[in-house]
Amino acid sequence: MIEVDQLTKFYGTLTAVDRLSFTVARGEILGLVGPNGAGKTTTLTSLAGIIIPTGGTVRIDGFDIARAGVEAKSRLAFIPDEPHLFDYLTVEEHLRFVGRLYGVADVAERIPSLLAELELTEKTRSLPGELSRGMRQKLAIACGLLHSPTALILDEPLTGLDPGGIRKMKTTISARAREGASVILSSHLLHLVQELCTRLLVIKRGQLVALGTIAEIVAERPELAGLELEDLFLALTGDPSDAAR
């Protein structure tokens, strides 16, 4: 479970995230959407323990990421839009490396199935420089999934993937949620969010604009009834005239 309470992040005088509170239960996929500069990445990187929030708390399965970082992070996976890989580790070595970091005892058994799941089996001995953009993204995803995290944070995870890869990835995300992981998915691909996510968190200028299922959001804002998701998004986050078009 991911619990976020009053999360706040200032960059100097700029408020990137403003008292954001929400919870993602086990098996739930929360879609995080918002316009550019809304604070999505700051929120996600705060949840992953990459940046230190100015205020508020983040708990992963009950562990405060600020106070019990190691315990919280061992249950967490953060998959960014831009894969960060080490130049001189092969695909397999990346997984062995991550396995040791997260203490995955049966890493040798997990690697083949994970590589097969992400169609990387033929690239086991390749270095990142020899992989295409999509394959590097798949490797980053494989590294994130290796230790079976109970909290999965994905920031535009489909960037660079081909249609087959996108389909596989959607299946993988759903499967991990069904297995009990709490998933946060940030994407500008609204149809993807609609297809995968059980709830929606809409933020704008660091503040919560809407939280809930689409039905719940519409119930709170009856004027949005009947709008397509794109129009709904624009109505919530953009210039009101955009939604009317």
């Binding site: 960014p80 831009e82 080490f86 490396f97 040791r100 001995r125």
Partner: protein
């Protein structure tokens, strides 16, 4: 608004059009870079660094009282330097023809590919562009060489020397380009293509055999000579014998104007070199089709590398084939910090190629061979052993700046590292351990090499027992001292990321040079301060034991060294703990970070 530097003319087909495009691109790029630099100077950090860099360059170029001099002033007046340069050229040309896989001479930047390749520009114009672009660096380098080495007492005006160097470098560029085009084109034809390289292979093979034979014959003469200057002079005499003289003749022709001492000598030698340069130009310009293939391939390789580099937010790492399974095992369970060390050591073996590990072992092996072959050859062994010792000492001082298997590389991946379930202090320790381990092993190999070489040399004035004692204590001492130095470097990267080069991205400029000098000075001061408490402890312990016990020199020395090292290790531990906090809590501020 249309820029005044270029008109929208029909296809840029002729040399004039290409020149205009090139001139526009160059002038605007230089101007914009200058403007960026000026803007940066408003920041005090860049201003200070610029001043320091400028002062350094001024001292280096214009205010040196001691210049490298030959027999009659300046390296360009030295026959020995000329002969050795000819050998260097031979090796260079041989490398281009036989082993040359560096296609950067042909590669266009992604922007150039995007704008020039689809543009209505002929391939010949592209080659001209490529050659013209190369001229900028060549002219700059020619002037720099004359500034650094050219001030001598010879009668040749510096301008003529610069023109000679320009012609020489231009031939280098054209020949490398031509060789690469031919090699790329022949490589496309498989075995048939390889056969076409047979001429180069035969020519350079025969010449190499000739030179090697000369070297073998000359060995008995050289090994009896002592002193580096005498060795070089003897080598030069050997190279003037008929066979090597004939083999090196083409390269000496190329070098003749550069090493000319008078204007009349220059006038005799330069037309030939100019003619060779022109013939090279014609050769390269006539390889249009082959150039197209080779350039596209080279550019694609470069683009892939850059794309991969950008994706990784890393800088300019050569693509290295991993080959087989890694030879360093990693158990799945245990402290996670070991994984970081494993990764860095693996990166070391791959980034430097297999030679990274093989070379130190080859050094030790060659020491044994040397001792066996030349037992009793006092002078040469002493020189080589002393050089190895100097290298070890030098690497203790500057090694930690250059071996960067630590946070200086990994801060590029700071966001990723922060997601790992590992304490900050443990992560910093693991990162520091990578560079420390590599440095210590290298230094120990050099020490062992020096020890073995100097073992039979009583002349150096240090007792054999003391040499053994130093060798025995060296691993622990080097380990702790290197750890301290590397920790300081990593601390600088964490605390002042804008001052330290993160990753392998190369950047130039006077301000970067100044910045580098400043950080080096600061690191040395920090190391001196870090060594102060252990030094005081060691001296106090030594004096105390000597005061209490008589004739306890050995015991006092051992206790002093151990106490000093333990104190330094404690300091390093404390520093790692503090840096761990910074790693966990610090804001991500480095410009290089994703």
């Amino acid at each position: 608004m249309r820029s005044p530097g270029i008109r929208a003319t029909p296809p840029a087909d002729g040399a004039g059009s290409v020149f205009r495009v090139f001139a526009y691109l160059t002038v605007v790029s230089i101007r914009n870079r200058f403007v960026t630099m000026v803007k940066q100077i408003r920041n005090p950090r860049y201003a200070i660094a610029l001043v320091i860099g400028g002062v350094y360059i001024w001292f280096f170029l214009f205010n040196r009282t001691e210049m490298p001099r030959g027999r009659s002033g300046g390296p360009f007046a030295s026959v020995e330097v000329e002969l050795l340069a000819a050998v260097g050229l031979f090796v260079l040309f041989m490398r281009w023809w036989l082993f040359g896989n560096d296609r950067s001479a042909l590669a266009f930047t992604p922007a150039e590919i995007q704008f020039f390749f689809p543009a209505p520009v002929t391939r010949r114009a592209l080659i001209q562009f490529k050659l013209l672009r190369g001229q900028l660096a060549i002219i700059f380098n020619a002037m720099l060489w004359v500034l650094i080495f050219g001030r001598s007492e010879s009668e040749l005006p510096p301008v003529l020397r610069a023109v000679s160097i320009w012609a020489l470098f231009t031939i280098f560029m054209l020949h490398r380009l031509g060789a690469t085009i031919v090699r790329t084109a022949t490589a496309k034809h498989g075995k048939a293509g390889a056969k076409r390289n047979i001429i180069a292979l035969a020519l350079f093979g025969a010449a190499t055999v000739g030179l090697m034979w000369t070297a073998v014959e000359a060995y008995p003469i050289v090994r009896n000579v002592s002193g580096m200057g005498a060795i070089i002079r003897t080598l030069a005499e050997v190279l003037q014998q008929p066979v090597p003289d004939a083999l090196l003749a083409p390269f000496r022709i190329l070098l003749a104007p550069t090493f000319a001492q008078t204007s009349s000598e220059w006038m005799k030698a330069f037309p030939t070199v100019l003619l060779i340069a022109l013939l090279h130009y014609v050769w390269v310009i006539r390889t249009e089709l082959a150039f197209e293939d080779a350039a596209v391939e080279a550019s694609a390789q470069r683009a892939r590398r850059i794309e991969a580099m950008r994706a990784r937010r890393s800088g300019g790492v050569k693509p290295v084939r991993a080959g087989n399974r890694s030879w360093i095992p990693l158990a799945p369970l245990g402290h996670p910090a070991v994984a970081i060390l494993w990764k860095n050591v693996l990166a070391f073996t791959r980034s430097s190629g297999r030679g990274a590990v093989a070379i130190p072992f080859a050094i030790v092996l060659s020491a044994i061979v040397l001792i066996t072959v030349s037992s009793g050859e006092v002078a040469l062994a002493t020189v080589i052993g002393t050089v190895a010792l100097a290298m070890a000492a030098f690497s203790v001082l500057v090694g930690p700046r250059f071996v960067r298997l630590d946070l200086r590389q990994d801060l590029m991946h700071l966001r990723l590292l922060r997601t790992y379930p590992i304490e900050g202090s443990a992560l910093v320790a693991a990162e520091v351990a990578g560079s420390t381990l590599v440095l210590t092993v290298t230094q120990m190999l050099l020490l062992i090499f020096a020890h073995v070489v100097l073992l039979a040399q009583p002349a150096i004035g240090v007792d054999a027992a003391i040499r053994w004692a130093i060798l025995f204590i060296a691993p622990a001492a080097l380990l702790v001292i290197n750890a301290a130095s590397v920790t300081i470097q990593n601390g600088a990267a964490l605390l002042f990321p804008a001052w330290v080069k993160i990753g392998t991205a190369k950047s130039g400029g006077v301000e970067v040079l100044g910045q580098s000098i400043l950080t080096m000075l600061a690191s040395l001061i920090a190391l001196a301060l870090a060594l102060l408490p252990p030094g005081i402890m060691a001296v106090a312990a030594f004096a105390g034991i000597q005061f209490v016990f008589e004739d306890a020199f050995l015991a006092a020395t051992i206790v002093a060294i151990v106490l000093g090292l333990v104190t330094l290790a404690f300091e390093v531990g404390m520093a790692m703990s503090l840096l761990g906090e910074v790693f966990e809590r610090g804001e991500i501020v480095s410009a290089g970070n994703p």
